[in-house]
Symmetry: C2
């Protein structure tokens, strides 16, 4: 995308539809009269703050789905009220708000918190890194989640994978990209690690709130912008202000969102509600990818067939150079701290094996299926 912009966007677009005067009074607990004394009847009221506008398609509906699932599975014993960015706390304060217990849960993306630790970037997506299926394999069967928990432990947070967008698009461009020369001086909205790589490649990476992107492209303030993929991009109408839609999204190949839970609040739950929180997170984690997989398909058809979008692939030479620079950026990141190094070693080893296996399975199958 980059998801990052939605954060800022959410500070500007308040699509809330919900009144913050409706806020409940924190981690209140009470006993149902019918079964006083039974731990299993204690009820909890939690707040979930997000880095997205309330109900933003895909990204913002996932925390709503999480709250609904927890409510249903707990028979109403754990009620979670979802706040869009800015409703209870600003988007960029989600991490601190959950860390300090102002809210019990947060939904966002780990790479927003590189100011806390640069290593957080590994748990969303890195340029030329793992795709969604591989990220989930690494997190849940490759030691990734344990490292993520260790990284967040000093912040009093328990992280869970909370959804994925799949591979994103390279973005919308008003200049043809035929070689690295065309990157030189190109003003593109591309934040985060992707932006670092883009800058080293000679481009000018800028950060602009999502809500301003359409106008920025229209008026020529920027020459290009990335966002997410067809489903979200169509909704923003970028096809009306850009000439070319480039793929693939080298900068975010398998973005994983995060659900973070305040450690004390989590510990205060009985074991069954802890299991429900974990189970609902896992279910939502897959559900979001399912949604993007289905809806990106239909949105792409609309972009191409209804709006005549010119879809183009970045030249191999450009991808190759960006990949080389990405390797340098990641190597530097690994030297940031002892844990950053351990995470880098873990994910690199996983990627080497996953790349080899997927070359003869998923990748080879896409090739075999072609008409």
């Amino acid at each position: 995308m980059r998801i990052g912009l939605i954060v800022i966007l959410s500070l500007f677009i308040m699509s809330c539809g919900e009144n913050t005067t409706d806020i409940s009074t924190g981690t209140s607990t009470d006993k149902k009269a019918a079964s006083a004394g039974s731990d299993t009847q204690q009820t909890f009221k939690w707040k979930l703050v997000t880095t997205w506008p309330k109900n933003y398609p895909g990204l913002g509906t996932a925390p709503e789905n999480f709250a609904k699932k927890v409510d249903a599975m707990s028979g109403g014993r754990l009620k979670i009220k979802v706040y869009g960015a800015g409703q209870l706390v600003p988007a960029f304060e989600v991490f601190d708000a959950v860390s300090q217990g102002t809210a019990q849960v947060g939904h966002g993306a780990s790479y927003y918190w590189t100011g806390k630790s640069k290593a957080t970037g590994f748990f969303t997506s890195v340029p030329f890194g793992l795709n969604a299926q591989e990220m989930n394999g690494w997190l849940h069967y490759g030691g990734g989640l344990e490292l993520w928990r260790e990284l967040y432990e000093p912040f009093n947070l328990v992280p869970f994978a909370g959804g994925s967008t799949g591979v994103q698009m390279a973005g919308w461009f008003n200049r043809e990209i035929n070689s690295m020369e065309d990157i030189k001086g190109l003003k593109m909205r591309i934040p985060g690690m992707g932006g670092d790589v883009f800058t080293r490649a000679g481009g000018i990476a800028v950060t602009i709130p999502g809500g301003e992107l359409y106008t920025s492209m229209q008026t020529g303030v920027i020459d290009a912008t990335e966002w997410v993929g067809p489903y979200n991009d169509l909704a923003f109408g970028f096809h009306q202000v850009a000439k070319y839609y480039y793929y693939p999204g080298w900068h975010e190949p398998g973005s994983i969102l995060e659900l973070i839970v305040n450690k004390d609040a989590y510990a205060s739950l009985p074991a069954d509600l802890q299991a429900i929180v974990e189970g609902a997170a896992r279910a939502v984690n897959q559900d979001m990818l399912d949604e993007y997989t289905a809806r990106n398909n239909t949105a792409l058809v609309e972009l191409v067939e209804t709006h005549g979008v010119d879809v183009r692939k970045l030249p191999d030479e450009v991808l190759s150079e960006l990949r080389k620079i990405s390797g340098e950026v990641l190597e530097e990141l690994a030297t940031d701290s002892e844990i950053a190094n351990r995470i880098a070693v873990s994910v690199k080893a996983f990627q080497e094996q996953a790349t080899a296996y997927h070359a003869i399975s998923e990748e080879a199958y896409y090739d075999a299926r072609k008409q």
Copy 2:
């Protein structure tokens, strides 16, 4: 794979470690003394029968994980006892046993039940069809699950997606495959729809229990066999009796396993336990793919580096011809019944769009990542 063989295998290999005399007495329900009268304290004891040997890696551990998750999330209110194939009912009687209520839940694969309705085959995997990510998109956001529920409704069953192996391998061969000529007369263990296609291509498709495959390859009873992928194949030791390991698994590109629940038993649950069953199924559905994604990687390394396995790609000409024949087989399947036709139309439309989108996202990314 084909998963199918594990079913039969499970009739032969009883790796059970659990005594069937330990069977509980059905859908017994009782009230906890501490909270008599409260619906939420009613407890249920269910039986889960599977088409796999008890605790078979990946496929058999998924139903165990499902039972554990349900137990934890329900605080012990829904206890599910898992039986390997043959412990309570034979593998191929799982569908009937759950339909009739002998057991409340079953775990297997829908394409075992083509004798009930040929359309069941669509919900596991079809040759040159959807991969795992796409199957999940189609099922949960493309109308697939609704069609599956409609198909199983007359059998008193509620199906859920219950795991995936990802793309499988084409299999182990003792004859080089350089053209369609080499398929002619080749005796290969490849059941199901893949076997139908293989037979039309001039091969001799046979069905042999998994437990006999090693010996059958060793003694030359068969020239080739498919199974699952590196993780499961390594465990069976096929590298000791076969010369070549071919990819990709055109016949099962994204096998989805199923959790089937007896409709009356499901309806008898309070709403929170129903939500827990659904949530746990969804969590396990992703968990299995995560496990295969991680463990296939390491198993492939062992096969190649430790055992020197000769990994080869099926020639494009062969894949192209198999793809053509697969199209014919699927077209015939669509004429089997009114619902088979509707399912075929739905999945075909989804695949057309998914193929187009993944060509510029997941597939293009695999390509961009290459060294």
